[in-house]
C-alpha cells in the first residue's frame, strides 16, 4: 500500500471517529428530545460516511475489490436515517413530549 493511501485512510478514520464522538456528546448535552434528534441523524452520518470511505480506499489499495458494498451501505444509511428521525419526531409529538421552553413555535396536535 502506498504511503499516501495510508495517510488518507488514517485521516478519514480520525475524522469519522471524531464526528461520531461529537454526535454522541450531543446526545448527552442537548437539552430536550427534539434537539437531541439532531445529533445522531447528522454528525453520525458524516462520521459513518468518512469511515466507509476509508474502507473503500483500503480495499482498493489492497487490490481486493472496488468496494461497492461500502458505497451501498452508505446509500442505505442515507436513505434510512431521515425516515427513522421522522418517525421518532412523529411519535414524540403523538405522546406530547415536552419541548425546551425557549423553543419558538409549537409542534402539531396529532
Amino acid at each position: 500500500m502506498s504511503p499516501f493511501a495510508e495517510y488518507a485512510i488514517s485521516a478519514l478514520l480520525i475524522f469519522g471517529g471524531a464526528f461520531t464522538l461529537v454526535g454522541a456528546i450531543g446526545l448527552a448535552r442537548l437539552p430536550d428530545f427534539y434537539t437531541r434528534l439532531h445529533g445522531p441523524t447528522k454528525a453520525t452520518t458524516v462520521g459513518v460516511g468518512a469511515i466507509m470511505l476509508s474502507s473503500v480506499i483500503y480495499f482498493s489499495a489492497m487490490g481486493e475489490d472496488i468496494g461497492i458494498s461500502e458505497i451501498l451501505i452508505t446509500v442505505f444509511l442515507l436513505m434510512t436515517a431521515p425516515v427513522s428521525a421522522n418517525m421518532l419526531a412523529k411519535a414524540a409529538m403523538h405522546i406530547g413530549v415536552n419541548t425546551l421552553e425557549s423553543t419558538k413555535g409549537n409542534p402539531w396536535e396529532q
Binding site: 456528546i25 450531543g26 442537548l30 434528534l37 458494498s69 423553543t103 409542534p107
Partner: protein, 162 residues
C-alpha cells in the same frame, strides 16, 4: 393469474436485482435465482404502498442535486458539531414550511433532504400536503430557514418534477 406473475414496477425490480448481485459478492447461479425471487416478491408485497407511478421528467438533474446535498451535509455538519461543543445554548424552533411541490415523491425527497442536512429535521407533513413541519436546532429567524430551503432544495426539485 398473470397479475401475480408480473413485475408491477420494472425499475424497482431491476434495482433490487442489481443490488442483490452486488451484495452477494459476485454473480453466481444461486445469487441470480434469489435475486430474481426478491425482484419479483418485494414489488408484489409493497404494491399497495405505491399509489401512483413516480413521474420523473428530468432525471439527468438528479446527480447535481445529490452532489449539492452531499456537500451541504459535510459543510453544515461542522456547524452542528461546533454548536454541540460550544457552551452557547441552541435556539430551537418549530417552523411551518409552506410547500410548493405537489408530487408525493418530490415532497418525500425534500423532507429527507431537510432531515439529512444538519440543523433541521422534518417532523410531519399536513394531511393536505401543503405544509411541512420542521424542527430547527438553531434558527435565528423562521423566514431565513424557509428561504434557504426553498432556494437551495425546493426550486431544483420543482424543476425536476414539472
Amino acid at each position: 393469474m398473470f397479475d401475480r406473475l408480473s413485475f408491477p414496477q420494472p425499475w424497482l425490480s431491476l434495482i433490487l436485482f442489481t443490488t442483490w448481485q452486488i451484495l452477494s459478492d459476485g454473480v453466481s447461479g444461486g445469487s441470480v435465482v434469489l435475486g430474481l425471487i426478491l425482484a419479483w416478491l418485494i414489488p408484489q408485497m409493497t404494491h399497495g404502498f405505491w399509489p401512483e407511478r413516480p413521474a420523473f421528467v428530468k432525471t439527468w438533474r438528479m446527480p447535481a442535486y445529490i452532489l449539492r446535498v452531499l456537500k451541504d451535509i459535510v459543510a453544515a455538519s461542522f456547524s452542528v458539531a461546533w454548536l454541540i461543543l460550544s457552551p452557547r445554548k441552541p435556539r430551537p424552533a418549530f417552523i411551518n414550511y409552506p410547500l410548493k411541490l405537489e408530487h408525493p415523491l418530490a415532497i418525500s425527497i425534500l423532507a429527507s433532504t431537510i432531515s439529512l442536512t444538519p440543523g433541521t429535521v422534518s417532523a410531519d407533513v399536513s394531511d393536505d400536503k401543503k405544509t411541512l413541519l420542521i424542527h430547527a436546532l438553531d434558527a435565528t429567524s423562521d423566514q431565513e430557514v424557509i428561504d434557504t430551503i426553498h432556494n437551495r432544495y425546493e426550486k431544483p426539485l420543482m424543476e425536476m418534477f414539472q
